[in-house]
């Protein structure tokens, strides 16, 4: 199936779990409920639907309008070469079902999301830190974790400068 057919099929089969379908920049994003992610992904993986390649599994952290983490699954259909993005929102302390048995390669991706964002995965065989040292405290890519920059010292009693504040942040959401 190609992407429009797949999103229609998803809407038909999982009516209450599929929350929203958006289209932007030639890409389809399907927002789903957290607990239904395994069923949805295994449905997409079936040969009839055909989205059997999981290209990327990542997360984005939000502080406004509410503190949550958005998990992003990017799937591809190997025959039609169509792609679809499945998105779910999880609160900070909530656990998300793991998809390691559907794609063994997602093991390291989920470990990375756990390490950098603090999202726990239910059913993951080996959930420990992968990029940071094993005894590191905190989850670095969260928005409330500071960049921890060392100020650059100058001579002749000039004030030290913090590199990321030299060009100010001008934006809509005004994070960091």
């Amino acid at each position: 199936m190609n992407t429009p057919q797949a999103s229609e099929a998803l809407k038909l089969k999982f009516e209450d779990s599929v929350l929203q379908i958006t289209e932007a920049f030639n890409e389809t994003t399907v927002e789903v409920k957290k607990d239904a992610i395994r069923e949805i992904l295994s449905f997409l993986q079936t040969p009839e639907v055909g989205f059997n390649l999981l290209i990327d599994l990542t997360a984005v952290d939000y502080l406004h309008p509410k503190v949550c983490t958005k998990l992003v699954y990017w799937l591809r259909n190997a025959t039609y070469l169509h792609q679809i993005r499945i998105v779910l929102y999880a609160e900070r302390e909530q656990a998300v079902p793991s998809i390691v048995d559907l794609w063994p390669g997602a093991n390291w991706f989920e470990r990375e999301v756990f390490d950098l964002f603090g999202v726990n995965f239910d059913g993951h065989p080996n959930l420990k830190r992968i990029l940071m040292p094993d005894d590191w405290q905190g989850h670095p890519l969260r928005k409330d974790y500071p960049l921890t920059e060392e100020p650059v010292e100058f001579k002749h009693e000039a004030k030290p400068k913090i590199p990321s504040r030299v060009i100010p942040n001008v934006g809509q959401s005004n994070t960091n």
Partner: protein
């Protein structure tokens, strides 16, 4: 041989010292400690065009116990810092350290939670080679500087 600063050193000692230093500087054996992009420029320096075999350094020993120069080439992350210290402590005296590249010298373009701002927070550095990555000629310049430093060392006197 412990001697005071003011005493004049005997002639034989200084000649022997300069011979020993000459031998040491012309046969430095680097230990491989290539971390990131600067490693590629280090490998280019060891390859045919910018040959460092003419300075006696083509032997990149894998084991730190058989080497006397550690070229820290690349960015040092928090997880790698204990490994760097362990490898440095395994090297035998006399040993020297070159911090190659901006990331090893001062943290480089990265100033965040994950990169240690300068290798000299962990090990004592003798020569800093700047550049991102430094050209092979710059690395050879740093090596010559280190060689001159070794030649001037008071290896038999303290």
């Amino acid at each position: 041989m412990a001697m005071n600063q003011g005493e004049k050193a005997p002639f034989l000692l200084t000649t022997l010292e300069s011979v020993i230093n000459w031998g040491r500087k012309n046969s430095l054996w680097p230990a491989q400690f290539g971390l990131a992009c600067c490693t590629i420029e280090m490998m280019s320096t060891a390859a045919g065009r910018y040959d460092i075999a003419r300075f006696g350094m083509e032997v990149f020993r894998a084991s730190p116990r058989q080497s006397d120069l550690m070229i820290v080439a690349g960015r040092l992350s928090q997880k790698m810092a204990p490994v760097l210290l362990t490898v440095y402590e395994q090297m035998l005296e006399p040993k020297w350290v070159i911090a190659m590249g901006d990331c090893a010298s001062c943290g480089g373009i990265y100033n965040n939670y994950a990169i240690i701002q300068g290798v000299d927070k962990i090990v004592p550095v003798d020569v800093y080679v700047a550049g991102c990555p430094p050209r092979p000629e710059a690395l050879i310049d740093g090596l010559i500087m280190l060689q001159n430093k070794i030649q001037g060392e008071r290896s038999l006197r303290r």
